[in-house]
């Protein structure tokens, strides 16, 4: 029964990794940009939610109504005025700019919010759980987090394959120059993609803040699992990212059950195994 519990908890943690990774996967899929500052944006979103909660007294989960649109507007502006001017044939400049953004964000947050660690208090949902089997209990918060991760991925997937904006994303991703010839302004398309990414980042940030303490410097530490989930699942494939997150969560949980020292190692080993056997990930996006 212990193993059933461990694997269920691992799957639920996988939902968190998928939330961290969905924005990364989206941005990479559309514009081949690796966003080093992704983890710091998640932490910044958690701080934004904290400010909103302090100002309005809303439950952090409800504060998403305000935080998500704000984050999306920020993402649009960030892409339009900063990142777009770095995109080109060379992949290095945008990478370096996001690296710089990461440093600026960390120290900016330190200046404004100090080094104190904070948490978003969502009330009883944080610690409540329901038993499914003897010895196996599922917490409402991890479950909600998993459901939200699935919903976010499903929503992005729907948007990609059933809307005009999604068509624009795919067209620009496949061949940005031809898309431009057809009248698609890639800069605008990219700005929308970043806006969506930041919307997902805001959701991830709020869940991060409700789960545990956060401080200005914890972004990069949280980023690595997001990266691994994206790569295990296959670059640019959103459902793959969810599955990648779950594989990572479960392998870490199994590793931890054998010895807590193996928890992170087990995740990394699975990651390396996938890279060795299928360098493009388990479910690579079909390139045209």
């Amino acid at each position: 029964m212990i193993w059933v519990n461990i694997i269920i908890q691992g799957i639920l943690v996988g939902g968190l990794y998928a939330l961290f990774a969905a924005g990364l996967s989206l941005i990479f899929g559309v514009m081949r940009l690796v966003n080093i500052a992704h983890g710091d944006f998640i932490v910044a979103a958690a701080f934004l939610a904290w400010v909103v909660v302090q100002a309005t007294g809303l439950n952090p989960l409800l504060s998403l109504i305000i935080v998500v649109p704000l984050a999306m507007a920020f993402g649009y502006a960030l892409q339009k005025w900063i990142l777009n001017s770095t995109l080109g044939k060379d992949i290095l400049p945008p990478l370096l700019v996001t690296f710089g953004l990461s440093v600026i964000l960390q120290n900016g947050l330190l200046e404004v919010f100090t080094a104190d660690s904070r948490k978003l208090n969502a009330g009883v949902i944080e610690t409540a759980s329901f038993p499914v089997l003897p010895g196996v209990a599922i917490g409402y918060l991890p479950l909600l987090q998993f459901i939200v991760a699935v919903a976010v991925i499903w929503g992005l997937q729907y948007l990609f394959y059933n809307t005009a904006l999604g068509r624009a994303f795919r067209a620009t991703s496949d061949d940005s120059e031809t898309a431009l010839l057809m009248g698609l302004d890639q800069r605008k398309v990219y700005a929308w993609a970043m806006a969506l990414c930041m919307g997902v980042v805001a959701i991830a940030g709020v869940f991060l803040g409700v789960r545990s303490n956060f401080d200005p410097f914890m972004g990069p530490g949280r980023l690595i699992f997001g990266f691994e989930a994206v790569i295990i699942g296959g670059l640019g494939n959103l459902w793959g990212t969810l599955i990648g997150g779950v594989i990572l969560g479960v392998s870490q949980a199994i590793g931890a059950q054998i010895n807590p020292g193996w928890q992170v190692l087990a995740g990394h080993l699975v990651f390396l195994l996938v890279l060795a056997v299928r360098p493009k990930g388990l479910f690579p996006r079909i390139d045209g």
Binding site: Q9, L16, N107, L110, S117, R211, N213, G221, A253, A256
Partner: protein
């Protein structure tokens, strides 16, 4: 367009260089009679919480500085929470700024590189706020000979263990302890079979369940919780960073694990991190190195511990923190040394004054002369007690519950059980 920007940048740089250079030039003019004290501490980065009160402390030293026999200049540099950077700025302070006395504080990541540079360059150095074993053995100190130029004061692992056991003895919980030790310098030292918690706990009749070292910033403690539940653990201990403890504590509740006593090092130091846990912070226990209830006074300002803490809260609007006392007392020791030094231009003379220190500070008595508080040469131990966080009307308060080692520090209550 781009040309204009370059010009602007250059002119700004040039103007900036002028501003920076001017005071340096002026400083050199009166350098002969100014005694320079260098301080390295983490002001930014993950350890910034330790350095938070420092600027306020230094600003409050003006009167005390005026009373010293020579004009003093304090040059404070940021370690950015990085040991390499700490060594770099320490060298800069010694070689470029020409400090005659070097101070360093907050965790082995700062105290050790700073002390190493001072030892190497023959500059007298005083550090605090790092348990003495990582400071002394982390620098490959030999208890027989010790170091020449570098002196340190804080408590040691044996004190933490004594206080934790004191808390548990008082609680009456079953003697089954679950250990949560991360795979970092602290976790490995605390969990070490020979020098860490396991030996003394066994001697005190406690049974330690240690599932193994986890990686810091862990997202899932299910396997540890399952192991604790299976072993009937009633006491949880460890040395964790705040986010890891918060993750563990929420998961413990979700999975129905209800220990009676939870005593954690590091994660529960700052009121802000306990506040962040909401109602679930009430009743957690931790080590206390300094609190407003300590019966000590500042040798510089005459303030009691409580007055210093209240003044900080009034000025900053933030609750007191444990490093506040140590940020203050390092200057008490430094200024006392300066007062007693016969020849401030002679490092040997400054060193002699350090070794003869016998001072009552806001963090307790400091003296490096052989005695019960000096476990090895160069190290003086300050008192350590244990306590419990209690949620009141105005937020969290730390109540001293255990003074097994320091009867002079009064206890204010008994340990309450969590469940």
């Amino acid at each position: 367009m781009s040309k204009k920007i370059v010009l602007n940048r250059r002119s700004i740089l040039r103007a900036g260089a002028g501003i920076v250079a001017a005071p340096a030039f002026l400083r050199r003019a009166y350098a002969a009679d100014t005694f320079k004290v260098g301080l390295v501490s983490p002001l930014t980065g993950p350890l910034a919480g330790f350095g938070e009160a420092q600027d306020w402390v230094i600003a409050g030293l003006k009167d005390a500085m005026a009373k010293l026999p020579v004009p003093i200049e304090i040059i404070a540099k940021d370690s950015q929470s990085n040991p390499n950077r700490a060594a770099e700025v320490a060298t800069e302070l010694i070689e470029k700024d020409g400090v005659k006395l070097l101070l360093g504080k907050d965790t082995p990541d700062t105290t050790n590189p700073v002390a190493d540079q001072a030892e190497l360059n023959g500059v007298p150095c005083i550090t605090n706020n790092c348990p003495w074993q990582p400071y002394f053995f982390g620098r490959n100190g030999n208890p027989a000979t010790g170091f020449k130029w570098t002196y340190h004061y804080f408590w040691g692992l044996e004190d933490v263990i004594a206080n934790f056991v004191g808390i548990w003895d008082q609680s009456g919980a079953a003697k089954k302890v679950g250990g949560l030790f991360p795979n970092d310098a602290d976790g490995n030292a605390w969990g070490d079979k020979e020098h860490g918690l396991p030996g003394p706990l066994k001697a005190a009749g406690y049974d330690l369940v240690d599932p193994g070292r986890y990686q810091p910033l862990n997202n899932d403690f299910s396997s540890q919780i399952a192991a604790f539940k299976a072993a009937g653990v009633e006491i949880v201990t460890g040395v964790m960073i705040p986010p890891d403890f918060a993750t563990f504590w929420a998961q413990a509740a979700q999975q129905g694990f209800k220990p009676k006593v939870v005593t954690i090092g590091k994660a529960l130091l700052f009121p802000a991190s306990v506040q962040a846990l909401g109602d679930r912070g009430d009743g957690l226990t931790s080590e206390i190195w300094w609190s407003p209830n300590h019966p000590f006074k500042s040798s510089l300002t005459g303030q009691s511990a409580k007055e210093l803490a209240d003044a900080y809260t009034a000025a900053s609007g933030k609750p007191w923190t444990q490093p506040l006392g140590f940020a203050h007392s390092i200057f008490e020791v430094a200024f006392d040394v300066i007062k007693r030094t016969k020849d401030l231009n002679d490092p040997e003379s400054i060193l002699a004054a350090i070794t003869e220190t016998d001072l009552q500070t806001i963090t307790g008595p400091i003296s490096w002369k052989a005695g019960p508080n000096v476990p090895v040469k160069n190290v003086c131990k300050t008192p350590l007690v244990g306590g419990q966080w209690t949620k009141g009307d105005k937020g969290y308060d730390l109540t001293i519950t255990t003074n097994v080692q320091q009867a002079s520090i009064p206890v204010a209550g008994k340990v309450r059980l969590l469940n």
